[in-house]
Amino acid sequence: MTPFSLPNPRLLRVDLRGNSMMARAGSMVAYDGQVKFDKAILGGEGVFGALKRKATGEGVPLMTCSGTGAVYFAQDAAHVMILPLQNEKLWVESSSLLALDSGLKTNTTFTGLRGVSTGQGLFTTTVEGTGNVAMLSHGTPLELEVGPSYPLFVDPDAFLGYSGQLQQEFIFDINWKTFVGEGSGESFQLKFSGQGTVYIQPNERK
């Protein structure tokens, strides 16, 4: 696993020892040692992957960083959260992804209707395998557990990602009086049930 650390809550440091990792293009703020940066694209490999990225809009321009040295990443002074994956799968909004171990596999999956109101697209990115992932969060991120006896409801605009055995549903508060006027997170929610963890930010995307 490539070591990821946080010198401060809004800055990510990755130590490379001859290996490589991927990061959001343009997020590198400093590095020392001998590091090479190459263009790369997120979300599935091969011709089919390329087609899917084109069709879904979940393709985020990434770069591959390889070599030896310490690389620092940051984006808009957002908080960074490191998630170590142990042969696990993480569902994450591509706009919240900052960096990931090159050993991890990324793909694009259909998530349903969430994007209709929030403009985040109908698709989400999955990250699978063993390695570190760094996510961006505007404000300190929260990790909320979901258990069989306690489902969780989340504002789609605050949603960052989830891991574990979770079912995702879209809940419309069928109260048109709430809906009339402006749409707000309260009239349209994501429901998570099963067993797992949901990551959110104390912030609604604009």
Partner: protein, 243 residues
């Protein structure tokens, strides 16, 4: 730390930017500030039928009725406001006046009324309420002069009035700017707080971070008088006219 319904703080901050409310009954919150919840909760606009009695008793600010909703049921509600600090206050037979769009939520034991100062809401009675601020809040005693943007509100009875700093605008450039209505900084125009009580000042000159330009403008509109609104309407109509 992973949070679940058993280890979530009860009516306390999870971190400076997120607050967990233990809901059992009804509370008022500002629209769009729920970020997540556990349990059985319902969200209703203030016009919804069965809630009329509670609303009549607790919510007395018709100008802001569209900005607030009622949460009913049992559960844990997590609130956040675009990464701004969330602060909670306990009022005991007291009063607190806060800038309207900083009021995140309040218990129904409190009565919410429009302040006579435009863009501010006054909360009266006993109960808990939540306010957001851009940076931590600093408490001050009157007499003091505060920048309008940095002023969050006041408790008890300071008397707010506008103070205009003539010495500052004797500077020629400043004077030109102020005549053209371009410059209005805290150095030139302040709110003078006199009387006895507490003043709440936030640690930023920007009212709330992460707000769109439109939201900033709309938050000011409620404070305008009729003539100003007519002018604004004419201005917008002119801008909308196809060239």
């Amino acid at each position: 730390m992973k949070l679940n319904p058993n280890n979530l703080p009860r009516n306390d901050n999870i971190n400076p930017y997120a607050f967990c409310v233990e809901v059992n009954g009804e509370i008022f919150i500002q629209k769009g500030k729920m970020i997540a919840y556990y349990g059985q909760l319902r969200f209703e606009s203030l016009g919804a039928g069965p809630l009329d009695m509670i609303v009549q008793n607790a919510f007395n600010a018709p100008l802001y009725a569209r900005d607030f909703i009622v949460v009913t049921g049992r559960g844990q509600l997590i609130l956040g406001d675009r990464g701004n600090d969330v602060n909670s206050f306990d009022l005991e037979a007291g009063n607190l006046t806060v800038k309207a769009d900083h009021v995140l939520g309040f218990e129904k034991g409190l009565i919410c009324q429009q302040s006579i100062v435009p863009n501010y809401l006054t909360l009266l009675g006993t109960g808990k309420f939540l306010a957001s601020s851009n940076g931590p809040i600093h408490f001050m005693e009157p007499p003091a002069r505060v920048d309008e943007q940095a002023l969050l509100g006041w408790a008890d009875l300071p008397c707010p009035s506008l103070r205009y700093d003539h010495a500052h605008i004797q500077n020629a450039l400043q004077a030109v700017g102020s005549i053209m209505g371009l410059r209005r900084t805290g150095e030139e125009e302040q709110i003078d707080m006199t009387g006895s009580g507490t003043i709440l000042v936030q640690s930023s000159e920007e009212a709330l971070k992460g707000r769109s330009d439109l939201a900033n403008i709309l938050s000011q509109v409620t404070g305008l008088h009729h003539n100003d609104l007519v002018q604004l309407q004419a201005h917008v109509a002119q801008r909308l006219r196809p060239n």
